[in-house]
């Protein structure tokens, strides 16, 4: 079952000359695939993630997530689509600093309108699965980078999305934590059947993925 499908996906920027950040990408990701998107800095990894995540609009081409074309969706509908179908893991974790780990993860379910008791049950379950129960009452400032990224993963998967997009999730972590984080994402992908697309140039990450897509100058070079 195809979770992600792009057709001739392109993103151009005009800065005097036309810069092709993503250039005619045709890509398919199946349910539960654990894929690394690799390439040097400026190769277009982040732009491609943004296009697939509906954060950026393509200049040309189409993006289908779970069979739905998102490239032409209006902003409001797209926001709700992301809320239900996508999860994000960022390089700098990006947890809400004023909320505890529990509240950060709960926020997604709160936005989805999940009742309080169910929210509590689902958040605690994911905390247990990720082994971070003891972090529940801590705010981000009282957590290490590795702990914050675990909470960020919990936030990305608590609502069991179709696709998780992770952008350099290990860039700010030491080796031990980086490996642990990749293993954690892999485990979640296998156990929950969630598709992961991880933009990275960290070998500790792509060595552990089943599929590696190499992108250079906005084009898929190897798959």
């Amino acid at each position: 079952m195809e979770i992600v499908k792009t057709e001739n996906l392109s993103k151009y920027y005009t800065d005097g000359t036309i810069v092709k950040a993503v250039d005619g990408v045709n890509l398919t990701l199946k349910k539960g695939e654990f894929t690394a998107l690799v390439g040097p800095s400026g190769s277009g990894k982040t732009t491609l993630l943004n296009l697939i995540g509906g954060i950026d609009k393509p200049s040309e081409g189409k993006v289908f997530i779970d069979g739905q074309e998102i490239s032409l969706m209006p902003e409001k509908k797209l926001a709700k689509f992301r809320l239900h179908k996508l999860g994000f893991v960022f390089q700098s974790f990006n947890l809400i600093p004023v909320l505890t780990a529990y509240e950060n993860v709960e926020l997604i379910l709160l936005f989805q309108g999940v009742p309080k008791n169910e929210r509590r049950e689902r958040v605690m379950r994911i905390f247990k699965e990720l082994g971070i129960e003891e972090l529940a009452d801590r705010t981000p400032s009282k957590m290490s980078g590795g702990q914050q990224q675990r909470v960020a993963i919990a936030r990305a998967i608590v609502h069991t999305p179709s696709l998780v997009l992770a952008d350099e999730p290990t860039a700010n972590l030491d080796s031990e934590n980086a490996i642990a984080i990749v293993e954690l994402m892999k485990k979640m992908s296998e156990e929950k059947g969630i598709t992961f697309l991880i933009a990275t140039h960290d070998s500790r990450v792509f060595e552990r993925t089943r599929r590696i897509i190499k992108i250079i100058d906005g084009k898929i070079h190897e798959d």
Binding site: T47, I96, V98, D167
Partner: protein, 399 residues
Amino acid sequence: MYKVAWRNLWRNKRRTILTISAIAFSVLVLIFMLSIESGTYEYTKDYATKIWNGKARIFKKGYFQKETITKSFTVDKKLKKLLESTSFSWCKRIDGYGLVSFGDKTYGASISGIEPEREISAISKKIREGKYINSTGQVLVGWRLAKNLKVKVGDKIAILVQGRDGSLGAKLLEITGIFKTGVLDLDRGKVITTLEDADELFSMGGRVTTVVLYSKTRDFDKKLNSLEKKLPPELELVTWQKMMPELLEMIEFDRAGAYIMYLILIMIVAFGLLNTLYMSTFERRKELAVLRAIGLTKGEVRALILKESFFLALLGTITGILISLPVVIYFVKHPIKVGGKMAEFFESLLFAPLMPALLSWKIFAGVSVIIFIFAIIMAIFPGIRVTREELSQQLRFEK
């Protein structure tokens, strides 16, 4: 989202407390000034109407448009009963014009006949020399007129008038008192005698030109309407607003000036709030972008900023009200007194030389609503600005 908004406020405690203090101070200033202003206006209305004109008067129809002694009426039993059925204080008067002479000096003056014991104006309290009248043959004179005529208490002045029937009326009356009201027209041109003497002078035959009404009740206008409906058709009611349009205009003018100042004050607070919201919003651009990325719409992000502004306004307003309450109560009990030349200036404008505060929930509620409206308006701008940017630019995914 209320939880997020509330906690966001306390990220920068000093900034939040300063903003709340600025709002609270503005609420205090606005409530205090509006309370003093409203209290002074209310007091001035009472003060000015109490000097001579009363809150309302009954005239024969047409008299108010053209004051003539021929347009007079009798306070018969029926009218008296009607007046006594109201809660108003009332008294009869005869008002006419004539000449006042002493020695070789003659001046035109407004001559009024009053019932000294029933008179409801404050004229008895405005006697600067001598005493109030209590029987026929006596007269009160405004201090400027007395100065012009070069008369003093005890002197006898001659009054010459044309009566209701066209005949000439003349009397020699003894000055028992000289009054000073601060109102130029009264001080320069008013002579007050008893109703009996005025009746003889103007050949009124028991008729009067006006009945003066006064009351301090708040529902005066409502009661007045009810009285107006019951009046005989040949009579009409004229309120102080029609009799003293200059006072009403003065209040409106004064109020307009004050409103400009209030608006400036509100704008200062509003821009302070805008500054706080802009700063707190822009230092969290990425965080707000993350909220959008994970599923909040632009509108929901704007609503979050709106909630923060709501909390700031709420805390500022509540603090402001709590500080204002004892201040206003103090000035209700201890009005500001205006003295010396300033008091004379105030009196000449019919303004009371006393500025009490008015404790009114309407002022507290009005100020709170205005501050809230401005807080919400100010929250719109950073909300729009921060959500207008491209989400991908805000997120800066790679760094």
